[in-house]
Symmetry: C2
Subunit: 152 residues, 2 copies
DNA sequence: ACCTCCTCGTTCGAATTTGAACCAACTGTA
DNA sequence: TACAGTTGGTTCAAATTCGAACGAGGAGGT
């Protein structure tokens, strides 16, 4: 095995910044959603994706990809959300294996009352601390990263 | 309560990119470290921080901040690492409450044999998919985010 | 109809994470 | 010294995560 191409100072800084910012922001968001709405970040993400979909319905397998989680992880969270009445399940019309998660009215209301506080936090810690150019550069770079990772 | 300042399309895209890229990369890294070295990402991070510190030793409280985890989370992971002999504990000389985590020789060897594969993955998915300007922009932006979050 | 292969979602056990509660030990002040 | 308040680390229960295994169902070829 050949000597690996180590990271230089800038590359190391990039990786550190990526991991550190990710962890810090995640912790903050998690905590905020938990105490303000009793939701975990994955749960909130599920509600968001459902509300953005036509009819407030998304197939489980597709939903798992949208929120970037494992199949079993999604099953668990949807079950939790179903228990508290924010989401319901129904079987797919065209495929008996399929399960479709549906946002309930209560779920939509929950999202509406939770979103402002969440958006506020996202602004405070990510959006408003950067100018437009920085924001665009960040989006572009992370977009490249995601696309490469999605396609492999 | 006043109407919140919602995110416009660019801001939404930035937030989505941030969350998505973070999740995708984390999953990948976690999986890679797990199957190649039997380590979780937090565990690997702990080894890295220890090896970078003078004497390969860091106080628990400081280490928790470095790897961005909870106190109890760090206790757990250090215990795991201690069980497999990669890290040892000793009490602090100047403060009997304090505990210092030390990288063992086995820990250093483990890190040396694990690092190449890890760096390879980081390159493949984050570093090498961006050019220098993008990398710098990314680091700058995320640096701002982290600093703001550290100081509050 | 009948195989074979693949997909879908759930279930299971094991590992991990978190905050709260706790105890020990340090700090400053009287 | 005595006391109150703070800090450091561990322990605990509860929630969450993942991959592997599973069963039901669909798709394509014969």
């Amino acid at each position: 095995m050949t000597e690996p191409r180590w990271l230089d100072a800038e590359e190391m800084a990039a990786w550190n910044a990526f991991v550190e910012a990710g962890n810090l922001v995640n912790r903050r968001v998690e905590q905020q959603l938990r105490e303000q709405a009793g939701l975990s970040h994955p749960q909130y993400e599920i509600l968001v994706r459902l509300s953005a979909a036509p009819g407030g319905e998304v197939r489980m397998s597709e939903l798992a990809q949208l929120v970037v989680t494992s199949k079993s992880g999604l099953t668990y969270q949807v079950t939790q959300l179903e228990k508290v009445g924010l989401v319901s399940r129904r079987t797919c019309d065209t495929d008996d294996r399929g399960v479709i998660a549906c946002l309930t009215d209560a779920g939509r209301r929950k999202l509406e009352e939770t979103a402002p506080g969440h958006v506020e936090l996202v602004r405070e810690h990510l959006i408003d601390v950067l100018d437009r150019d920085q924001l665009r550069a960040l989006t572009d770079a992370l977009g490249v990263v995601s696309r490469k990772l999605r396609g492999s």
